[in-house]
C-alpha cells in the first residue's frame, strides 16, 4: 500500500494532460489527448449506446461520453462540461466531456498505488499522484475506454 515513487523517476510521463470532472482530476499522458474541442461542437444526434453524441476527427466521427465525478456514465450533460477531450486509443478515438483540461509540463509529486481496499477489478485508475495540483488520478486512454465499454455492457444487462 502507498508505495512512494517520485513522479519523474522512470514514469515516462513528464508532460501530462489533466481533465477536470467536478472535483475529480484525471491524468493522462499528454500524447493520449489528441485534440480539445468545445462541448458545443459535439453532435448530439443519434448517439451510440452510453454516449451523448459524436465528434469529428480525421474525417470520421467518434463517440463522446459524459462521465460523473465517480466515473459513472451520464445521459444528461451538465452545463459545466464545456470541453470535449478526444482520447487516442489503440483502436480509434473517443471523446470525454470535462469541465476543463490543462497540460502539466513537469509533473512533480509522489505516485501511490491505489490502496487494496479501494481497488475494484474494473477500475481505470492506475495510480494516485499527490501533487501541488491536488490529488491526480492516473489513467490511460485504453483503460478508460475498456471501463466505459464495461459500463455500457453492465447497463444493458
Amino acid at each position: 500500500m502507498s508505495m512512494l515513487r517520485p513522479a519523474l523517476a522512470g514514469a515516462g510521463m513528464n508532460a501530462a494532460a489533466v481533465l477536470k470532472i467536478n472535483g475529480l482530476s484525471l491524468l493522462f499522458q499528454q500524447g493520449e489527448v489528441r485534440t480539445l474541442e468545445s462541448a458545443s461542437d459535439v453532435d448530439g444526434r443519434e448517439p451510440m449506446a452510453g454516449s451523448v453524441g459524436w465528434v469529428n476527427y480525421l474525417r470520421q466521427r467518434w463517440p463522446v461520453y459524459c462521465l460523473s465525478e465517480q466515473l459513472e456514465l451520464q445521459d444528461e450533460v451538465p452545463s459545466s462540461r464545456r470541453t470535449c477531450a478526444l482520447l487516442a486509443m489503440d483502436n480509434g478515438y473517443a471523446g470525454v466531456l470535462c469541465d476543463d483540461a490543462s497540460i502539466i509540463k513537469q509533473l512533480a509529486g509522489h505516485r501511490h498505488e491505489v490502496p487494496t481496499a479501494m481497488k475494484t477489478a474494473v477500475t481505470p485508475i492506475q495510480e494516485l499522484l499527490a501533487s501541488e495540483h491536488g490529488l491526480l488520478c492516473v489513467s490511460s486512454a485504453n483503460q478508460l475506454a475498456a471501463y466505459i465499454e464495461y459500463l455500457i455492457h453492465a447497463k444493458k444487462a
Binding site: S2, K119, T120, I125, L135
Partner: protein, 146 residues
C-alpha cells in the same frame, strides 16, 4: 487473568468496535480527504498522512448503517504478517476513541444479528452490557472489494 488495553471506536449510529492499543497511531481532527472514483461506497476517499495516501474506511457504511457526522479519522497500523513492515489505513469516527482495559472474562460471541461482523472481526468482548467486535484490520484494509 490477562489484561489488554484496547481503543473503543465510535463510528456513529451506535456502531462501535475496538482495536488494540498499539494499532491506533494517530487521531486526525477534520482532515482533508480526496475522492477516488470507482471505489466502493464505504471506502472511496483517501487522506494524505506523513507522505502516504491512506484509504479512509467508513465502517457505518460498510455495515449498512446510516453514516452520521464523522469529524475524526483514526490512523491505524497493522501487519500482514508478523515481522513485516506495517500497513496503514484510516477509520472515520464520530467521536474521539476511548481507552479500555479488557480481560479474557469479557469475551463474548459476535453480534448474531449482524452477519457482516463475522468476517470483519477477529473476536468480541462485552462492554457495558453490549458486544464490542475487535476489528480484523488485515482483512478490512488488505482485501480487494468483490
Amino acid at each position: 487473568m490477562s489484561q489488554a488495553n484496547a481503543w473503543l471506536l465510535n463510528f456513529g449510529d451506535s456502531c462501535r468496535a475496538a482495536v488494540g492499543t498499539r494499532e491506533l497511531l494517530h487521531l486526525v481532527d477534520a482532515p482533508e480527504t480526496f475522492v477516488v472514483p470507482c471505489a466502493p461506497d464505504y471506502c472511496n476517499r483517501v487522506v494524505l498522512w506523513q507522505e502516504r495516501l491512506l484509504p479512509v474506511m467508513d465502517m457505518a457504511a460498510r455495515l449498512g448503517t446510516a453514516t452520521g457526522h464523522t469529524p475524526f479519522l483514526a490512523v491505524i497500523g497493522y501487519q500482514k504478517k508478523r515481522g513485516e513492515y506495517p500497513q496503514f489505513g484510516a477509520l472515520m469516527l464520530a467521536a474521539p476513541p476511548q481507552q479500555l482495559q479488557v480481560s479474557d472474562e469479557q469475551a463474548c460471541p459476535l453480534p448474531a444479528q449482524d452477519s457482516a461482523w463475522q468476517e470483519l472481526a477477529i473476536s468480541c468482548f462485552e462492554h457495558q452490557g453490549a458486544p464490542v467486535p475487535v476489528l480484523n484490520l488485515n482483512l478490512l484494509f488488505g482485501t480487494a472489494p468483490q
